[in-house]
Symmetry: C2
Subunit: 374 residues, 2 copies
């Protein structure tokens, strides 16, 4: 049996003042089911990835809520692993199909972040970090700034190298009508922007976003004739300490290396066979670390960029980062390309894709490998 992505959908990402968490998740669920051509009566299980529903929208218990509101046949659960909640939701869906608990699973990832002020949201996001980091007064950007500084000192990368990541991702977002910031920036704009936590300036940081994404994931024995099929070849998770202070190195994310290593083995492919990827660029430094930890270049060389397309959606940086949605949206983007339906931003070669989703500063990492075929 193969596990395929039968349908996918992304809402617009942005500061969506007129939308609620529920309405975003509804749109994603209905959109994914419509894209898959499946009825609610065919859905055995809904898995919702969400981090902040309880703290920001007063709503927990999202698994049952979405199974009910979408009137699906089956039941619902919610999973949470900070910013990797979406990736974990996809992983749990794949697991449920493998046990036979479900044949068709609707995966939803969503977040409504703009309904509270930045202080509340910033504090809530630090729930992904360790108690020691919170007590120290560190913010998320502060944590990644520590990683960036260590990296720059060790490997000689400059702020301009970080800015290149932002410029690239904004350029991609300019081709993406669902993106929060669908416009280009220049290196000079990035370098002159206000500093958030040195060396990370405004354009090194992904934004606070609202949005949702959905996938219909299905176990199938035979391929449907005539339609491009997207198969999930590997779905792997790994976890590590939440706190940077407990890591052996600030120069890598060990959970990414571990999840990727297992994913390559279970898919039977290596990084050289991956055509496109969506990686977790919550900050520009994170994309650079990801390229290295995923095996696309040597340690210390990620800041020079690679030849393959990375974050065609615009990434978390410019498409936006509604935390629970991100891991699901990455797979929606890959699916568009693997099906040759990505429009203006379609990758030339797109037969094998990789999605990489991180929780916190690397407490959790999820890697999926997808294959498209006719």
């Amino acid at each position: 049996m193969k596990v395929i992505i039968a349908g996918s959908y992304q809402t617009r990402f942005g500061e969506l003042w007129e939308r609620s968490l529920l309405s975003l998740l509804m749109e994603a669920g209905q959109g994914a089911m419509k894209d898959a051509g499946v009825q609610a009566s065919e859905i055995d299980l809904v898995v919702v990835g969400n981090k902040l529903g309880g703290r920001i929208s007063e709503q927990d218990h999202l698994g049952a809520l979405m199974a009910d509101k979408l009137r699906v046949k089956g039941r619902g659960i919610r999973v949470e692993a900070a910013c990797a909640s979406g990736g974990i939701a996809v992983h749990q869906a794949v697991q449920a199909i493998k046990t036979g608990e479900a044949e068709t699973v609707l995966v939803l990832g969503g977040e409504k972040m703009t309904d509270k002020n930045n202080g509340v949201v910033g504090a809530a996001l630090m729930g992904a970090a360790s108690e020691e980091e919170r007590r120290t007064g560190l913010s998320f950007v502060g944590l990644y700034a520590l990683m960036a500084r260590a990296y720059m000192e060790k490997f000689g990368a400059r702020r301009r190298d970080l800015a290149k990541v932002a410029v690239k991702n904004h350029k991609q977002a300019s081709l993406n009508p669902k993106a929060q910031f669908p416009r280009e920036i220049t290196e000079e704009m990035a370098l002159k922007a206000i500093m958030v936590a040195e060396p990370l300036g405004l354009f090194d940081c992904s934004p606070i976003s609202d949005g949702a994404a959905g996938l219909v994931v299905r176990g199938v024995k035979t391929k449907k004739a005539g339609k491009r099929e997207v198969e999930i070849l590997a779905s792997e998770i790994a976890t590590d300490s939440l706190g940077l202070n407990e890591r052996e190195s600030l120069l890598e994310i060990k959970a990414t290396k571990e999840a990727a290593g297992r994913a390559y083995v279970s898919a039977g492919v290596g990084p050289e066979e991956i055509d496109i990827m969506e990686v977790h660029d919550c900050f520009t430094i994170a994309e650079i670390l990801a390229l290295e930890d995923l095996g696309f270049c040597k340690k210390g060389e990620g800041f020079k960029g690679i030849d393959k397309p990375v974050n065609l959606s615009g990434g978390l940086k410019a498409c936006g980062h509604p935390v629970g949605a991100t891991g699901v949206k990455q797979m929606v983007e890959l699916t568009h390309h693997l099906r040759r339906e990505a429009g203006e931003r379609q990758a030339d070669k797109a037969d094998m894709g990789l999605a990489h989703n991180v929780g916190g500063t690397g407490g959790t990492a999820v890697v999926h490998i997808l294959k498209g075929s006719i």
Copy 2:
């Protein structure tokens, strides 16, 4: 392959001012591993059931946190389904074993509720309910009071019948050194206590509690000689609308009926073969509804009680209800009895047990059936 409970542990439940969420989960994890005689290096996966960590203890991302802090070999995830978070965690553990993702899983359920004032906790708990119910100003006890009132009017039950449930469960708790209220009460005490939401008085309500519980769940091919084995014969979940206003009836919890129906089929046993049970008595009326919806008596007769032992631990009512811990703790209690290790409160006949865990007012229900054998 069978899925067995290899080890179990419950912390004391109560207002544990000197304890943190992390320390409670650590105690439960270490206790369960010690009871199972397994090392952290043998644990492939940690599944944490928790509802309020983010809102009350500022800590999300509990899966990775506990996998790291307990130094287990594998990885961790967190699941949330309101007060059924613990039951869902056990269910996910069973699923992971069935797919072969894990051989040995540590399940943790825990909650630290007393670190915020009652207003904050009450509001946080309402995250399990629907938006309409929150806007109406209903509290959780208010929701169950609506169900109690409908039940009493329809079937002629009196407040004294509800009080009998509380008296029974306090009597059991008086035999349980881990219980939050290890002391007996009388019907008169219950009837004279302050009213919380008519017809539910103080003693009709489970308390705000801190506590945690842990299980080591394992896939095995052959039984270990000489030790009583506890097998998970069935693990089923069902979901329904979060809001009472969308239900066909206030007189039953449909998700309980559905999960129980499937559990009896998959275990190949009926209610008549169940010797002992732990049911979700967040309010006295909930235990009465559970007896009916689980098939132990006819609709409208649950308030007369049944002949089998129910909530030998003291139930949520008197043992306490740290929400994420409850579904796990129910299975810890059953395991004690099925192994003949329940001490003073050991059930005379205990070969088959049932655990019933509810999220919200029935948005989620989880039913497990356990079998003990020599």
